[in-house]
């Protein structure tokens, strides 16, 4: 028996013992309680400049002795719940008046309750966090609080900052990558991270970015820094619930059902992740926007076709986001139509008025021509492939090449698990050697896209950093006289409306499908498996990340979603998606979602893929049962799941940091997923 097991068993002892030890003997606690009551009654309030200081005597467990400075949200919540004076937390105007958090002048001390998660009015209404930023110049708002223990005296500081100051510092905060002002003027200030996390701002993308942890405000909030102005765009998914960051929310839905813990909504995830590099945004008035290649368009969806309505003067010349149009619109267009359906007759009428003009324009179309066809007709592209350090050479279509093709560019050795090259049998102009991003990060070509703009064939190769750090980049090539010429400003001056995209995935799938001999799970089978897994997890009180995996068309599809709180309907959706009831494009989209999550994983470590669970699914799908619990360590996996030797000497594992999934060999070297597939999935 392991100590962990013993610890777990101790957790199951008779509840009378638990209750008996729930509190320390009253004798030792009484003094503290008395101090607390005394402190509450004798709170001293100092108004010094823009700050309100409350000197109290906090419970010893609230402030770590000797820590000097300590501030945590829950401690704050605990504090606020105990000190009634803090219920006046609100807005202090320069003339000493109190206003509530929305700026309304109050006749008496406002009764705003901080529950640890949200502010509530006296009537119990939730005060959205953005109400902290009241739009009045003459008042201050409480922007932060901090708990201290200085010289043995516990202190609570509430920082009141004039709104005007906030506005002035807006750009500064943007530059600093945080949405909140830097109020660390005094030594040792610790920012209230609860608020900071609510206002997540993705500086790197400089795009409309969903604000995570929007627990207080059930809307996705997007921000954009345009020409020095900070623009906020509302995004209202129908359920009003962000996906990943619902984890600590709880409440009741419109039907009175309790909602707690994790409850991801797959279709929103699909939208968010599936369209991550082609962002769709909806403004308050209902207009739909998307950014393509760093250019923003007002668009609309029409039967799965993205129709550009207007090019907007928003542009970030230093960043070309990847253009990914082929795999997304079919699968998500229906969802997007739900999400972005014009809400008002006015908008619908306006779009209807625009229709005649639009119909005369060339629209973005998804061609029936496949990448395979294209490659056949453009042999230069056949050289685009990969080299593995095991000595095999595989082109992007999965064909194992008989011998080493001539490679252009340098090879730095075997420190990487795979490298991508354009081979020499391409025309001279196609001497493409992709290995670094513009800022020097080592990258691999993850996927490529073909499209036609203004009659010219464009090849886009999307680079992914091998470490998963930083942003993806794309390099672009124009096809000119059977040669590929690298081009930088591929979209400048182009008529995006003329963009015609070649379907790529179907051909790839066709080829792989012909070689696939792996199990193809039915929708019903997958659904029952997922339900069983969910129920088992709930039964075991597990809160681990579960995964779903499917092997299809010779490819391995893993969904590191958290199925624990999935409803039957959500499971149904995922099972249907997994089991291929969506068209081929959807499968490609699924793949991309997976990989994006992997990258996300590397950046945040928050989406740690439950290796064990993934392997459970692998085993199930392969007809081999491994008794694995989610989240178990890889060592446990090797111990409990020897059946994975079905994959020869290659195992699936997580990186030492728990980031992402890759395939490892006993000697510790990693192999790429593509290699894995090429070797074991054909």
């Amino acid at each position: 028996m392991k100590p962990e097991k013993l610890f777990e068993l101790i957790g199951e002892v008779d509840e009378k013992f638990v209750a008996e030890a729930a509190e320390y003997p009253k004798k030792s606690r009484r003094g503290v309680g008395l101090l607390m009551r005394l402190a509450a009654a004798a709170c001293l309030v100092f108004v010094a400049g823009a700050s309100v200081w409350i000197v109290g005597n906090l419970r010893s467990t609230t402030i770590e002795s000797g820590a000097g400075i300590y501030c945590e949200n829950l401690l704050l919540a605990e504090f606020l719940s105990q000190f009634s004076s803090f219920h006046s937390f609100g807005v202090l105007t320069p003339d000493g008046q109190f206003r509530d958090l929305s700026g309304r002048l109050l006749r008496q001390t406002p009764q705003v309750q901080w529950t640890g998660r949200q502010f509530l009015t006296e009537s119990g209404d939730v005060i959205p966090p953005d109400a902290l930023f009241v739009n009045h110049d003459d008042i201050s708002v409480a922007t932060s609080f901090a708990l201290y223990n200085i010289g043995g005296t516990p202190l609570v500081q509430i920082e009141f900052t004039p709104v005007a100051t906030l506005e002035r510092t807006w750009d500064i905060r943007y530059d600093a990558g945080t949405l909140f002002p830097n109020l660390s003027d005094f030594e040792g200030h610790i920012w209230d991270t609860q608020h900071a996390s609510e206002w997540h701002f993705d500086e790197a993308n400089v795009n409309f970015t969903p604000v995570f942890h929007s627990l207080h405000n059930p809307e996705w909030q997007h921000f954009k820094h345009i020409n020095g102005e900070f623009v906020r765009v509302e995004f209202n998914p129908p359920d009003g619930v962000p996906v990943e960051h619902f984890t600590r929310a709880w409440g009741f839905d419109e039907n009175g059902e309790f909602i707690g813990g994790r409850r991801p909504l797959p279709y929103l995830r699909e939208v968010y992740f599936g369209l991550a590099s082609m962002q769709f945004l909806r403004s308050n008035e209902g207009s739909l926007y998307c950014s393509v290649g760093g250019i923003y368009w007002r668009v609309r969806f029409n039967d799965g076709i993205i129709e550009p309505l207007e090019r907007l003067p928003w542009r970030h010349p230093d960043r070309l986001t990847s253009l990914r149009m082929n795999e997304t619109e079919v699968v998500v267009s229906g969802l997007l139509r739900q999400l972005f359906e014009p809400e008002s007759d006015e908008i619908a009428n306006r779009l209807a008025e625009e229709r005649p003009r639009l119909e005369n324009d060339s629209r973005i179309e998804v061609s029936a021509e496949t990448i395979a066809d294209f490659l056949v007709s453009h042999p230069a592209l056949l050289g685009f492939g990969i080299r593995q350090h095991q000595g095999m050479y595989i082109c992007l279509l999965g064909t194992i090449l008989p011998e080493r093709p001539p490679v252009v560019g340098e090879w730095r050795g075997d420190e990487l698990w795979t490298r991508y090259f354009i081979f020499e049998d391409s025309p001279p102009h196609a001497n493409i050697h992709i290995q670094t991003t513009s800022d020097g990060r080592l990258a691999v070509a993850q996927q490529f896209f073909l499209y036609e703009i203004d009659g010219e064939i464009i090849l886009q190769i999307e680079l992914w950093s091998v470490t998963g750090e930083g942003d993806n980049e794309s390099v672009f090539f124009r096809y000119v006289n059977t040669a590929w010429l690298r081009s930088e400003e591929i979209f400048d001056g182009r008529n995006l409306a003329s963009l015609r995209l070649f379907e790529t995935e179907e051909a790839v799938n066709n080829i792989l499908r012909s070689r696939s001999h792996l199990i193809r799970e039915s929708h019903e089978t997958l659904l029952s498996q997922m339900k069983a897994e969910r129920d088992a997890m709930q039964e075991r009180h597990e809160n681990a990340i579960a995964g779903a995996i499917v092997i299809r068309n010779g490819r391995l599809y893993l969904d590191p979603v958290e199925i624990l709180w999935f409803t039957d309907e959500q499971l149904e959706y995922n099972a249907r998606r997994l089991s291929g009831m969506f068209p081929a494009d959807a499968q490609r989209n699924w793949w991309d979602v997976w990989f994006f999550r992997e990258i996300e994983n590397a950046e945040t470590s928050e989406f740690g893929i439950g290796t064990g669970t993934a392997l459970v699914y692998i085993n199930r799908l392969a007809g081999i049962w491994g008794d694995m619990d989610a989240g178990q360590h890889m060592n446990d996996f090797f111990e409990y799941a020897p059946s994975m030797t079905v994959f020869d000497e290659t195992f699936i594992g997580t990186s030492p940091q728990g980031r992402g999934i890759f395939f490892v060999q006993p000697n510790g070297t990693r192999v790429s997923r593509l290699t894995f597939e090429a070797r074991y999935m054909q």
Binding site: G11, V18, F252, E542, I545
Partner: protein, 180 residues
């Protein structure tokens, strides 16, 4: 509000049951979770999950010791989370507790694996019932609530060495009890 009144709200499917539970026990449950999890966010999540689970199981269940009932759920949640974190190579403070408890574990041959859990749970209950109050209290604070030794010492007004000594003796007794 009394526990019974809160439970009545649960049985009436009154949403305020959650609010009242949170008011009364959130801080306590958070302490339970925080002792196991280094991340305050994780701990918050465990408490939130506890409310959710409670809403799910009451009714039909009606715990007699509501506070302990909640704490158990929180502890289980926290332990699961800790396992997941550890699996991702993000070990946390409870590893210290685990290393201490290793002293109390008899050799694998002593206990048949299939019956191990059931027997051990019974034996631990019996063992705890035979401990004197102080030793049991210290043991529970350390190995159920995962309090730090310094916190136990401080709250009991005792020295850390005394707490360590008590825990050491109790662990050895537990080992003997589990080996029998």
């Amino acid at each position: 509000m009394t526990d019974n009144a809160i439970l009545d709200l649960f049985f009436a499917r009154d949403e305020s049951a959650i609010v009242e539970t949170q008011k009364k026990y959130a801080s306590y449950l958070l302490t339970v979770a925080k002792n196991i999890l280094p991340s305050i966010q994780d701990a918050e999540e465990c408490v939130s999950d506890t409310f959710f689970k409670t809403w799910q199981v009451i009714p039909p269940g009606r715990p007699t010791l509501f506070k302990s009932f909640l704490a158990k759920i929180t502890r289980n949640r926290a332990l699961d989370k800790h396992r997941a974190n550890t699996a991702k190579k993000r070990a946390a403070e409870p590893d210290l507790i685990m290393s201490e408890l290793a002293e109390s574990i008899p050799s694998p041959s002593d206990v048949h694996a299939d019956l191990e859990s059931i027997l051990t749970a019974r034996e631990i209950n019996k063992f705890l019932g035979e401990l004197d109050n102080e030793a049991r209290f210290i043991f529970m604070r350390r190995y159920w609530y995962a309090d730090s030794i310094s916190a136990i010492a401080k709250n009991l007004g005792a020295s850390e060495s005394k707490i360590k000594s008590s825990l050491s003796r109790t662990r050895q007794k537990l080992r003997v009890a589990l080996s029998q």
